[in-house]
């Protein structure tokens, strides 16, 4: 069985600052560290668990991005994936879901994968489009928001539980090959092991320049960024930490909440 797992490199959101420029548009600053998209960690973990539970499973991790994106492949091999495929973009500009999905499906078409796994969405773009789009382009049955999966013993089918609003679930049976976009919480992602990390450092990834793949015109453009609007008063409490705590208590008392 061959599994392809998609993982994206994203900036850590924590430290990113936002402010307005003179034209009233928003600007992002302080891109610090980059890491594997948290949602994709669950897909990588799931692929490795399948590999551990069955004989003869090969797991390939794939990423689309600039040079530094190969770090996520190192992480993927570090937790147990066998190979890494880097679809290398010339710039760090976001190529858009359409292009990413098209390139992944173009590559996947050259290898016969039984299962393609990805995360529910990325932390930065938050679009959740690559999975369903790649499935459509590869003409694979697929499911998103998968919170449970059970492979049939003959590996021809998979039964999945999809998480829907309010924590309800629906069960769907899909024929393999299929693509699944996984919800966080389907497993507990592990940390890389030292031996796997050493292996990952030696690993030569299969790097393919996206220029050599079909060029995809992205019909949707981001024309600008804006700051979110306050939906409430957003009164900022100032002072020392101690003063702030007292002010909170005073507010609760005034509102008869304490």
């Amino acid at each position: 069985m061959k599994i392809l797992v998609c993982a994206k490199q994203v900036p850590e959101l924590e430290g990113i600052a936002v402010h307005s420029d003179t034209e009233g548009m928003a600007v992002l600053e302080n891109f610090g560290r980059f890491a594997m998209n948290r949602f994709d960690e669950f897909a990588v973990e799931q692929a490795v668990r399948i590999k551990e539970s069955l004989e003869g499973v090969q797991v390939h991790a794939i990423t689309v991005g600039p040079l530094q994106a190969s770090q996520v492949l190192k992480r993927a091999v570090g937790v147990g994936c066998d190979e890494g495929i880097h679809l290398l973009t010339a710039t760090d500009a976001d190529p858009g879901s359409q292009a990413v999905a098209a390139w992944i499906s173009e590559f996947a078409g050259s290898v016969e994968y039984d299962l393609v796994l990805c995360g529910a969405m990325s932390e930065d773009a938050m679009a959740g489009q690559v999975g369903p789009m790649a499935a459509a382009l590869m003409d694979l049955p697929y499911a998103t928001q998968v919170i449970g999966m059970d492979l049939a013993s003959d590996l021809t089918q998979v039964t999945v539980e999809r998480e829907i609003e309010g924590g309800a679930r629906e069960m769907v049976n899909l024929s393999l090959p299929a693509l699944l976009a996984l919800q966080p919480g389907i497993n507990r992602p592990r940390y890389p092991s030292l031996s796997n990390l050493l292996r990952a450092n030696q690993k030569v990834f299969n790097t393919i320049a996206t220029e050599s793949l079909t060029s995809v015109r992205n019909p949707v453009d981001c024309l600008g960024l804006v700051l979110p609007k306050h939906s409430r008063a957003a009164q900022v409490i100032t002072g020392s930490a101690l003063e702030k705590a007292s002010k909170v208590a005073a507010i609760l008392k005034a509102k008869a909440l304490i």
Binding site: I16, Q98, Q129, P132, Y142, T144, E165, L223, A245, S246
Partner: protein, 332 residues
């Protein structure tokens, strides 16, 4: 035959029950019309749709196409994709809109890929910018919003629920028709096996007057005790949190607030170390008063708060605990 439609709203109806997002979609569609959209129609996919369709068209005055057929008695992305792609090819609408729900978000991008349409998911605003119609959506965990324009002939859009508010029209044009479309929907290989309700009971947090909610800012599981202690200082307070803590097993899923958890409406929502991604915010918007504490001044939770405090909750929670206790003693 329906008159040509430029804005196609797509929803589902199963066992006579219409997806409630349709009203948000209509409100969104009207806004789209104000910005130059064009004729609008509603597509309802499912079974047992007729009565609901008739009622809807009488209520909103829009033409409704009822799409029923084998394979549509349950939601399956495969059949939804096939039907909507077929309608897009036949009618070439400018916009195809559906709810940004677990289902809409599942089929919409695939339909776009299959038909060569553009796709914008999770839209929560519509603006004109640089002379173009732009769709606004969250980026970077909600810290910022992007304005997206599409140059595709057809663009598929999923609309965040609860943002665009439906108002019944003052006058209903009497002629809005219901058109029945019996589609031959090729059955794919996927099978719907059934559904089940949420396994967890969230009544304790949905009925709590005060919620101390905690997020990723907690850092370490050992700090959970700070949260419980703080909650004990507040009358009838319950502890709740974001999905990430439930996924880590620090908090039971019955205490999760957000899209896949509970929606809560307490008198006070004390958001501690919560970044404020839309998936969480959806579940706490109904709170009457929100106090948010986060180290990151750019955390989107501050956009949803009445009171904002930039502090590290690990140091700040015990300070609040002391302050609340002092106050409680003074009241006694």
């Amino acid at each position: 035959m329906m008159d040509p439609v430029e804005i196609m709203l797509v929803t589902a109806c199963h066992k006579g029950r219409l997806d409630p997002e349709i009203y948000d979609l209509i409100a969104f569609g009207r806004k789209l019309q104000e910005l130059g959209g064009g004729a609008m129609g509603i597509w309802i996919l499912g079974d047992g749709v007729d009565t609901a369709a008739q009622k809807l068209t009488e209520q909103v005055g829009l033409p409704v196409a009822v799409v029923q057929g084998e394979g549509l008695s349950h939601y399956l992305t495969e059949t939804f994709c096939a039907v909507v792609a077929q309608e897009i090819k036949a009618l070439q609408p400018v916009f195809v809109c559906t709810g940004h729900t677990s289902r809409g978000w599942e089929w919409a991008p695939a339909v776009a890929a299959r038909t060569g349409a553009g796709c914008i998911c999770g839209v929560d605003g519509l603006v004109e910018f640089q002379g173009r119609l732009c769709f606004q959506r969250d980026l970077y965990g909600g810290k910022i919003k992007g304005l997206y324009a599409s140059s595709a002939e057809t663009t598929v859009i999923t609309v965040q629920p609860g943002i665009f508010k439906f108002e019944p029209p003052a006058e209903i044009s009497p002629a809005a028709p219901v058109i029945r479309k019996d589609v031959s929907c090729p059955l794919g290989s996927s099978r719907f096996l059934g559904s089940k309700k949420a396994e967890t009971d969230s009544t304790h947090i949905t009925s709590a007057p005060i919620i101390v909610a905690v997020g990723n800012g907690l850092g370490d599981e050992g700090n959970m005790k700070l949260v419980h202690r703080l909650a004990k200082c507040l009358p009838r307070a319950e502890v709740a949190g974001t999905r990430i803590l439930c996924d880590r097993g620090w908090l039971e899923y019955s205490r999760q607030v957000g899209v896949t958890g509970a929606s809560v409406t307490p008198a006070l929502y004390l958001a501690c170390g919560i970044s404020g991604a839309s998936q969480h915010v959806v579940g706490m918007r109904g709170a009457k008063f929100v106090i948010a504490i986060n180290t990151d001044p750019a955390a989107p939770i501050f956009n949803e708060a009445d009171v904002c405090i930039v502090e590290d909750i690990i140091q700040f929670m015990p300070l609040m605990e002391d302050a609340f206790e002092r106050l409680a003693k003074a009241i006694e």
